[in-house]
């Protein structure tokens, strides 16, 4: 009777725990979604920044023309005159996801616009990502840690920065895919089921579709497999988890046009193949060990080891020869800069110029993962006590990602899930110990405390047990390894049961500790909400500034793009620095010379050279590219710091990298970049300076630049080959038209007269827009 009752109460508790977990997960999903809506509330439902505009444009095309046209899309609106094959050069995961979402919503009569779907894709997927984190952490350390980690991930600032509503970029879905792939790998590793292994390959395929960061997975998982082998943790489950992933995953990855044969040809993937060979050799060794007597085995070992080594070396030699034959040794620049951190800054200005490729300082960690930075070491140690296959994977994940994040600040995004998992484990263990101690002292008995707070740990134990039974059912391979696994699994659960009886801390200090940990968590929440609301929600297409006389909205970008789309011919070409390429094609629907997909360095260098050349030379370059309009972004009037003058040195550097007559020192006075009266003549005569500061002196009479905090060097000058056609309300975008070449037949006097009258007419017609 009593036994029945306890078993019944156990079932009830189990059910209650499941319902509770489900509710908590639902709430976590709601929180993950809603914390990302600050950008919509504070600004409007609009696509953010630069790359998302391209993705939005591609999605529009997909929903309008269908998958096959999208696949074969050749875009002639960009990289004029080269054009760009979109279908073959884009990671289609995000676009296909949003397109499918839109289609489903429309088919069930929810008529959302494509833009709305795009804006809210990222928040929806961050809810999915937090659920995936729950699953992954549950596999590693149980449901309690899983729930904590999911809650932490739902609001980790680093991930919020890439997934606020409107930030419609690859990372939005890729982080979910990354975590889910890891979950399925661990699930396969824990169960040894081929079903999960297949799902794992499909999840990997989705990740390859979504983001170039998939190379992280295809290097991390082999590293883990190798680690398991080296530390003597080889098991048939490991084989099932790894071999199908490599075979199926590589085949599937090769189906994505942008990856194609890279999946077998570039060095980033070679590690997986090498480990694939090694795991087979090891599997063979274990198999032979199983069927031979110990003496025979010793003989066999020598044989197998020597044959295996010869094979390995042969393959290694082939690989090295292959790698050495390619110019960058088969590695792409971005990956190389991860291994040799100083690589990019030395050789590739186009990578070094991007701010998110810089190494972070310590405040970046505090900003992006906040108090998790304190908790991670505890999580690492918890993963070692006891060490399982799954927890060793978590450790490897955090170690590699934290190293990579140290090299490139954008990879903080990959670190964030790992930090959440580790902190979730640490927090859950800490709460486990402290609450157990409190309850032990309050209840005052030696028996295992059975009330509410024990739930999480209870569920953990059940899980471990059920997994064990699954293991015994599903594994039908080598007997020896099975025995070993059984021992492995039984040990930790035994240890934890013993711990529950005896290991407690004093009451008062435990209460204090719980209080402090809760305080820490509260600070985390405050920080995350603050970061989501203040730091990461700006769409950067609409700017606001708060001053003593209220809120100012700067909507100059959209003003300029709207002007372009209404006042220029459909086939006109617009030149600007590459940052504004995607926005121009998406919002103004005009052809651009270069855009944010920086695939052709020479083309970018040509534009950089034109902008750093004197007017006539620049006109010649632009005219040769059929450019009609030149667009520059200028922040000197309102103090917008990321304008073209501040980016100008990179234009010079990138231009000078291809055209050696552009030299950086010519633009610097004593190594200093300045635009005031001390600036070099080359600087004051280059096109970028002239287009930015043309008629600037008319605004305040002395030409004071609010970004550089100085008066400009050359105030009164005329443009001979360009004419100003539009300047936005706050002067943030200025558009110039290339004058047509002068007519040689007309007389000199006539020409100058007509020109004069032209300029005077223009100046009377177009008043100073600042008034």
């Amino acid at each position: 009777m009593a036994a029945q009752e306890t078993s019944q109460s156990a079932i009830f508790r189990h059910a209650f725990g499941n319902v509770l977990s489900f509710t908590v997960l639902l709430l976590i999903g709601v929180m993950a979604f809603s914390i990302r809506l600050f950008s919509v509330i504070k600004y409007e439902s609009v696509i953010h920044e630069f790359d998302p505009y391209f993705n939005y444009r591609v999605t529009q095309f997909l929903t309008k023309s269908g998958v096959y046209d999208f696949w074969n899309w050749f875009d002639d609106r960009t990289w004029y005159p080269l054009g760009r094959v979109i279908g073959g050069t884009v990671y289609p995961g995000l676009t296909l996801t949003a397109g499918t979402l839109w289609r489903i919503l429309n088919s069930i009569n929810i008529p959302l616009s494509v833009e709305t779907v795009c804006v809210f894709t990222a928040p929806v997927f961050s809810a999915f990502a937090s659920w995936a984190t729950y699953l992954l952490t549950k596999e590693i350390k149980g449901a309690g840690a899983g729930l904590t980690a999911a809650a932490l991930l739902a609001m980790v600032p680093s991930y919020i920065s890439r997934s606020v509503a409107g930030s419609y970029d690859n990372e939005a879905v890729a982080i979910f895919a990354l975590i889910f792939t890891f979950y399925l790998y661990i699930k396969t590793l824990n169960t040894g089921s081929l079903f999960y292994a297949t799902l794992n390959a499909i999840a990997y395929f989705y990740m390859v579709c979504s983001w170039g960061g998939y190379t992280f997975i295809i290097n991390l998982i082999p590293m883990h497999v190798l680690l398991c082998i080296v530390t003597g943790r080889y098991s048939p489950r490991l084989y099932i988890a790894y071999a199908p992933l490599v075979v199926l995953g590589t085949l599937l990855a090769a189906l994505v046009p942008v990856v194609g044969f890279n999946a077998v040809m570039t060095s980033e993937h070679f590690a997986s193949f090498l480990v694939f060979i090694i795991i087979h050799v090891v599997a063979l060794v274990y198999y032979i060990k199983g069927i031979l007597t110990p003496q025979m085995f010793k003989v066999a070992v020598t044989l197998v080891v020597s044959v295996g080594m010869v094979l390995c070396f042969a393959v290694l030699a082939v690989l090295i020869a292959l790698v050495a034959s390619s110019p960058t040794k088969g590695w792409s620049g971005r990956s190389l800069s991860l291994l040799d951190p100083t690589y990019a800054s030395k050789y590739i200005p186009i990578i070094a110029s991007v701010s998110e490729h810089q190494p972070p300082t310590w405040p970046s960690y505090f900003m992006d993962i906040n108090v998790l930075a304190f908790l991670v070491p505890a999580g690492i140690i918890a993963c070692f006590l006891p060490l399982s296959d799954a927890s060793s994977f978590a450790v490897l994940y955090i170690v590699t990602s934290v190293y990579f994040s140290g090299v490139m600040v954008r990879l903080m995004l990959v670190l964030a899930p790992a930090a959440c998992i580790m902190s979730g484990i640490a927090l859950s263990e800490a709460f486990d110990v402290f609450t157990r101690s409190i309850k032990f002292h309050l209840v005052g008995t030696t028996q295992n405390p059975q009330e509410n707070a024990g739930d999480a740990t209870k569920v953990t134990q059940n899980d471990v047990k059920s997994e064990k039974s699954e293991d015994t059912v599903k594994e039908r391979s080598s007997r020896k390894s099975k025995k070993k696994d059984k021992e492995n699994i039984e040990k930790p659960s035994l240890v934890s049961r013993v711990e529950k009886r005896l290991l407690v801390l004093p009451l008062e200090t435990s209460v204090m500790a719980v209080f402090l940990v809760v305080l820490l968590g509260a600070f985390y929440v405050v920080h995350c909400v603050w970061a989501a609301a203040e730091a990461y929600s700006a769409p950067s297409i609409v700017l606001t500034s708060r001053s003593h006389d209220g809120l100012h909205v700067f909507d100059d970008f959209r003003e300029a793009y709207a002007w372009l789309s209404h006042n220029t011919e459909v086939d006109d070409k617009v030149a600007s620095w590459w940052d504004y390429g995607y926005q121009t094609t998406a919002m103004a629907n005009r052809t651009v010379i270069v855009d944010n997909n920086t695939w052709n360095n020479t083309h970018i260098a040509t534009v950089g050279t034109a902008l750093s050349s004197p007017e006539k030379a620049a006109w010649d370059i632009f005219n040769s590219l059929d450019v009609k309009y030149v667009l520059v972004v200028f922040g000197g009037l309102v103090g917008y710091p990321s304008d073209d003058i501040n980016k100008f040195l990179w234009m010079v550097r990138i231009g000078g990298g291809v055209f050696p007559h552009i030299k950086e020192p010519d633009y610097l006075r004593d190594g200093q970049y300045r635009i005031d009266s001390q600036a070099t003549p080359t600087m004051l005569n280059c096109l970028m300076y002239k287009l930015s500061y043309y008629r600037f002196v008319e605004t305040d009479g002395r030409g004071y630049d609010k970004v550089r905090n100085t008066e400009i060097g050359k105030k009164h000058f005329k443009l001979n080959h360009f004419e100003e056609v539009f300047t936005t309300h706050h002067w943030m975008v200025r558009i110039y038209k290339l004058k047509s070449p002068r007519n040689r037949i007309r007389g000199k006097t006539k020409r100058s007269k007509s020109q004069k009258s032209g300029t005077s007419k223009r100046s009377t017609r177009k008043k100073n827009p600042w008034q």
Binding site: V230, T231, G232, V285, V305, M309, P341, T342, P359, P360, T361, W362, P363, S364, Y365, F366, M367, A373, F374, L375, V376, P377, A378, I380, I381, A382, F384, L387, V395, I398, V399, V402, Y403, G406, V407, A426, E429, A430, V433, E499, L503, V504, L505, P506, E508, T509, M512, A513, L516, L520, F523, V526, V529, W530, A533, P660, E664, P665, D670, G671
Partner: protein
């Protein structure tokens, strides 16, 4: 290259008389031959310039048959790390050696010199050099070296040998070509290392199969993982890539040292490591309390250690928060309903 007609005529004469003589001795100028000899004596091709030698070079009629690139050196300043004279000197030598090996025909068109402050002070005065590092190019046409020679800007040696070579290419119209850096490990060492690895592999594999290498000790892995974490969150990669010093001297008061730099875009070495330590210590203490301290039987010891751990953790978190607010200037605040205030 503008070779004066007279030089050319003499060279032609010489060519007729010594048809078999090598290219280096083509120029008749005794100074050039002497310089070539000095150049070939020096292992890197950098010639030590004395006052008298300089005087003789400058006494040549103005379109001299060669460019001269002079590195101004001072031994007593080698110890000052901010000047980085030894690095620049070795890079200068590297450019010289690379130039001479890549352009054997132009060896006598561009000479690399170094001047030591202690032994040739008058040369320093002649060029008007009063601060180091200083590298100067004397074109063949320069008669007054003080005004007509070209000083290499700081930007031109910022990227060491590569940018020096670019300077030479832009000003003297010589292509230096590939900079031949000596490899970090020589060919023999590589062969030795490979041999050692080959010999060690079977032993290692044997140990691996029997399962007792240091890789099987999980404490080592744990320490390694925590160390990598500490290393990364302290921003050490930033320090390495940007070559940040540990501390810098205060601008207002040079005797004081600045350990913490205000402004989030930059950090100093010591600053990063101390914060990395604070980041790590809290987690380590938490792990210690939850995994080790619970096993201790003595209640008082537990209580004391825990109080200590809690205090240190609280202090560390508080310190990092305040330092972060100070450094970045952010004021993180909660969103409390206005009715509460």
């Amino acid at each position: 290259m503008a070779i004066s007609p007279t030089t050319f005529a003499i060279a032609a004469l010489l060519l007729i008389s010594h048809l078999t003589s090598p290219a280096a001795s083509l120029s008749s100028d005794p100074i050039v031959t002497e310089l070539s000899a000095l150049q070939s004596q020096s292992p890197t091709g950098v010639i030590r310039l004395s006052d008298s030698l300089l005087r003789r070079i400058l006494s040549l009629p103005t379109p001299r048959p060669f460019h001269a690139l002079i590195f101004f050196d001072a031994h007593h300043l080698h110890s000052k790390p901010e000047l980085s004279l030894p690095t620049l000197k070795s890079e200068f030598a590297l450019v010289s050696a690379s130039f001479q090996s890549n352009n054997p025909n132009h060896k006598s068109k561009l000479f690399f010199f170094e001047v030591e402050f202690q032994e040739s002070q008058s040369s320093f005065a002649q060029f008007g050099v009063n601060s180091l590092p200083h590298i100067r190019l004397i074109p063949p046409t320069a008669s007054d070296v003080k005004t007509e020679s070209i000083q290499m800007d700081a930007a031109d040696y910022s990227r060491l040998a590569d940018s020096m070579a670019e300077f030479i290419e832009s000003r003297a119209k010589f292509t230096v070509g590939q900079i031949n850096r000596p490899p970090v490990v020589s060919r023999k060492q590589i062969a030795f290392i490979i041999a050692v690895i080959l010999i060690m592999t079977p032993f290692f594999l044997k140990k691996l199969i029997s399962g007792n290498t240091i890789f099987h000790d999980k404490n080592i892995w744990m320490a390694g993982a925590v160390f990598v974490y500490f290393f990364s969150v302290s921003g050490a990669m930033f320090n390495i890539i940007r070559k940040m010093p540990m501390v810098i001297a205060d601008r207002q008061d040079p005797s004081k040292l600045v350990f913490f730099y205000q402004g989030s875009g930059m950090q100093l070495g010591a600053e990063g490591f101390s914060i990395g330590f604070l980041y790590t210590i809290v987690g380590l203490l938490l792990a210690f309390v939850t995994h080790v301290l619970v096993r201790v039987k003595n209640k008082t010891a537990q209580r004391l250690v825990m109080l200590f751990a809690l205090f240190v953790s609280f202090w560390a978190v508080k310190k990092v928060i305040s330092l972060d607010n100070w450094k970045t200037g952010y004021s993180i605040h909660a969103y409390i309903p206005s009715s509460w205030q």
